[in-house]
Subunit: 197 residues, 2 copies
């Protein structure tokens, strides 16, 4: 991430909800299959896709709004439609580092699911369509899965201080994975969890 | 406002961006011309409209997301098209009480302006259309004005702790008022400000 500049004046951006592109944008992060390699269940499919050009899974556009006294931030993410093996394109997912940091997500295009899981193992799913707004409480890891034919695009409002912790997800994933069976998304136990059945 | 219940679980609502209605909604506030009576320049028009049925200027729908450790909130506001005399329908406008509380506004339907003014008198305007997202820094009063033919609808993300201070706006208004001249919105000095010219 670039160093964040303090700006105490109002800032406006313009978002195209069909593309997830907004201007002015301070930073873009692009995640390809190789960036999520350990997160997909089908490792053969992962290696094959990487060899075939390593397609983009999702893009995140950020705008930090750091002022002298506050640190809200805007993120707009776009998961492109697709699968790795039978598993739908998804974000890495993360916990917030700070215990007091929630996040609001607002789905503006596409369809899919928001997976959430607390450190105590409470697993929750929100079904998303354009207009769904979800409040993710602090201490719930969150991952978005695009199960539709279109890009899945959402707007996030959070605080820079929240911090991102990817380690528990890299180590264990979420309780369920979302795969296509007979053209429909289904939830299966995560094969990387020892007690999955 | 109703007492806010603590909920540590994820919550989702569904927003219809054409109407500004979301469900489930915890509370609705409706503002009629009489609720903004002192804020419009043309007091004769105000009294006439109140006598004619006191039309609704705007609605605000709230959902607080109070958890054990956090207090984000969602607000969706709809300003109906219309004027009071030559002055366009607008919100009351407010400062946040706390010095460290910004707000993010995301326009999803309609056209108009977001007026912002700091306590030091720095006046800023953001022109709004669907897709405009504005970060309002702490200590900037904010008011939205609907200058178009459609409802102007936006989504707000803020913290319950921010607090609302309407008093300076009731006393002095904003630096400019927005009125229709020859079918176009124009900015005029606020006649209630002693040094306006």
């Amino acid at each position: 991430m670039k160093p964040v500049e303090i700006n105490d004046l109002p800032t406006s951006v313009w978002l195209d909800i069909n593309t997830g592109v907004f201007e002015p944008c301070v930073e873009i992060s692009r995640r390809k299959v190789s960036d999520l390699a350990m997160m997909f269940a089908d490792q053969e499919a992962v290696q094959q896709l990487i060899a075939q050009g390593d397609p983009v899974v999702y893009d995140i556009r950020y705008h930090p709004f750091q002022t002298s006294t506050s640190d809200m931030a805007l993120g707009v993410s776009t998961i492109y439609p697709g699968k790795v093996g039978d598993e739908y394109h998804m974000t890495k997912g993360h916990f917030h580092v700070r215990m007091d940091q929630p996040e609001i997500y607002f789905c503006v295009r596409g369809t899919g699911f928001l997976l959430m899981e607390s450190k105590e193992g409470d697993f929750q799913v929100a079904e998303w369509r354009p207009g769904t707004i979800t409040h993710i409480p602090p201490q719930y890891a969150h991952r978005v899965v695009n199960t539709g034919p279109e890009p899945l695009i959402w707007v996030a409002s959070y605080h820079l201080a929240a911090g991102h912790d990817y380690e528990p997800i890299i180590a264990r994933g979420f309780a369920k994975i979302v795969v296509e069976k007979d053209g429909q998304p289904v939830f299966l136990p995560n094969p990387r969890r020892p007690n999955s059945s």
